[in-house]
């Protein structure tokens, strides 16, 4: 069995799956492994009670997307990004579950590129699944959330950052664990406002997601009294820059791109990772870079060690032999939220868990120094946002002084009064 799990790990999430349609939907091999582990250990405390543990099944649903190679040679794209975080969450939940007579099982489905995610969802729903971790982009997430089979389900979004999903496109059966763009850019804006770096030069890529990030930046600038002195759009050029002498061209192009009105910070919106990494040290003026590259706002980063963060980093690296990414963290947190609700309520049905998670008593610990909870008005997880440079953590927002009558965390992203979400449950 362990061999099969290994094999899945190596083939999952790559185009290799295209040739192996039999690999999905794949009821987790992990199920059996965990059940075995559970039977051997962990049951001492309840040895005197012979009842069967109550089981919470969580379906992890993702789709293979071919991604362009990262700009930096240092970056890799893990095939199991997100999924490994969820698996770690299951491990954590089961350790706790061994004391509460609860068992958590992850069923993993990786839909090959180009195939129908909704069909996969229907299959899972038909098999009785009600709790889902959706590692999917906006369109696929909406497609499954709107299925008749998704009524009464609870879907944790761990990938799609779209502000619209927390606004006009919000859905009553979706909870968002991954921060939306507005949360990230608000976190960045608060820090730069605290630094008094209030003149920004904005450069945005030309892909749709780049434009959305740029819109979020402009919204945050307005919210926190920041001036965007100049705005440029850039398609990233087309030269093969990593080839020999590629740097010569880059060092000539970047000053041209960043020459204009004077500014404090160069803010970049390049989710596509086509040019942002080329801005530091090459800009026309000697100014810091922040946004999608340079200093980045993110829910998780490998430089984070505060509030016991080292422990989660270690636990993850032990399991995955690689650093935890933001999507891994979201996957872990989604599964942990389910575990927390099950422990506190001692219930395992989706309706009870969903009700508790959305209620006022819910709080999950996420190595951020405070309890994390979901906003009632749009289902977004409120959480501190890290501001990370490549090698150290710079700061954590919300910044001191940005006050809120309920929770300072609601100074990041969409607060209730401005929410465009109208949930009909």
């Amino acid at each position: 069995m362990p061999d099969a799990a290994q094999q899945w790990l190596h083939t999952g999430g790559t185009q290799g799956n295209r040739q192996r349609p039999w690999l999905w939907p794949r009821r987790a091999v992990l199920t059996v492994l965990l059940a075995a582990a559970w039977a051997i250990g962990g049951s001492r405390a309840i040895a005197q009670q012979a009842d069967q543990p109550a089981t919470v099944e969580i379906a992890y649903l993702t789709q293979v997307v071919e991604r362009a190679p990262p700009l930096s040679l240092l970056d890799t794209i893990p095939a199991d990004e997100g999924l490994l975080g969820a698996r770690l969450g299951i491990d954590d939940n089961n350790t706790t579950g061994s004391f509460t007579q609860q068992k958590f099982v992850l069923s993993e489905t990786v839909v090959p590129q180009g195939e129908d995610v909704a069909a996969a969802f229907r299959k899972l729903a038909a098999a009785g699944h009600k709790v889902f971790v959706a590692d999917l982009p906006r369109a696929a997430l909406l497609a499954i959330a709107d299925l008749p089979e998704a009524k009464g389900a609870v879907i944790f979004n761990v990938q799609a950052r779209d502000d619209a999903l927390r606004g006009a496109e919000c859905r009553p059966n979706v909870l968002h664990v991954i921060p939306n763009r507005a949360m990230l850019t608000d976190a960045l804006a608060q820090y730069l406002a605290w630094k008094q770096w209030r003149r920004w030069y904005l450069i945005a890529g030309t892909n749709e997601t780049d434009k959305l990030y740029a819109e979020a930046i402009k919204r945050s600038a307005q919210k926190f009294g920041i001036k965007i002195v100049e705005e440029r759009s850039y398609d990233g050029g087309s030269t093969a820059r990593r080839t020999d002498t590629g740097h010569a061209l880059i060092q000539k192009q970047m000053p041209v791109l960043t020459q204009g009105a004077d500014y404090d910070v160069l803010v970049v919106a390049d989710e596509s990772d086509l040019f942002g990494e080329y801005l530091p040290y090459r800009s026309f003026r000697p100014r810091p870079v922040a946004g999608t590259q340079g200093m980045v706002p993110t829910a998780w980063h490998r430089t984070h060690e505060q509030w016991g963060g080292t422990q989660l980093q270690n636990r993850f690296e032990k399991l995955g032999k690689r650093p935890m990414t933001e999507r891994d963290y979201a996957g872990w947190l989604a599964v942990r939220s389910v575990g927390e609700a099950a422990t506190r309520t001692m219930k395992t049905d989706a309706a009870s868990l969903d009700g508790f998670i959305r209620g006022g008593d819910f709080g999950v610990a996420g190595f951020k120094g405070q309890k994390l909870s979901f906003r009632a008005w749009d289902g977004q997880l409120r959480q501190p946002i890290l501001l990370a440079a490549a090698r150290t953590l710079v700061s954590v927002s919300p910044q001191e002084g940005f006050l809120h009558q309920r929770s300072e965390l609601d100074t990041l992203g969409f607060d209730q009064p401005e929410s465009k979400c109208r949930l009909k449950r």
Binding site: G41, R44, A45, T96, R336, V364, A365, G369
Partner: protein, 322 residues
Amino acid sequence: MKLGLLSASAAILLALAAPAAAETIYVTNEKGNSVSVVDGQSLAVTKTIPVGKRPRGVMLSPDGKWLYVCVSDDHAVQVIDVDKQQVVRKLPSGDDPEQFALSPDGNTLYVANEDDNLVTIVDVPKAMVLGTVKVGVEPEGMAISPDGKTVVVTSETTSMVHFIDTATRKIAGNVLVDNRPRAATFTADGKQVWATAEIGSSVSVIDVATHKVIRRITFEIAGVRRDQIQPVGVRTSRDGKLAFVALGPANRVAVIDAQTFEVKTYLLVGQRVWQLAFNAGETRLYTTNGVSNDISVIDVPALKVIKSVTVGQAPWGVAVRP
């Protein structure tokens, strides 16, 4: 012989000069990889003992001769000869030891292995692992009952206090508390366990006989953000009257009436106050302040902070020798 006489007379002199506080304070410096030795009379650092990597939990043997230090990143417990002021031996501890508890006879050590969800039981004289007990995710806080029959351990991500029967080495009960329990202590009469919850921002008082939470204590400090109130270290006085709780980044120690469970006052100490230790007479309480790199000295009868002493980098744990 001559030396013995000298030190004896020095001790008499010291005793005459300072009958109140001739004690020695030992502080582990998590990022300094050292133990600072502070003289209780002069409140000056008299020695810095180099130890292994990431020293955290620290405790003295009942006879005061040995100082045990969890060196987390070296996956061991180091033993310092207090007179020689140097590390003399090493005990096995399992991976990543953070805190521990010592049996009243000083022979058995119970160590929390944070990364492995285990408590490792160690025979101190033989330097041998006797066994392990599976507990929740990220075990950290540890305490032992005055009669040595029960060990409690807090697991941070599982949010539980586990009660371990030291005779059977099995879990006798699990008590769910608020998020991220960090530390626990038995009251002197052995009837209650006080456990802090860092993210839950509370202290749970657990009745040992029934394994039930009988009181949940929360904190409000004017001018301090609620999320900065993160209870960590906790100590209760022998007379059962007072409890002290370190509140982390709130930079305060809460003083609680242990009978009524009401917070009496908050004492302003150094930044990110972490662990606490009484002196033998319980006339003083020492706090480690991880961000300001110092310890605060609290006069217990007066409930006043009388001094702060700069120690090494990121002070974590503290132990006091009479």
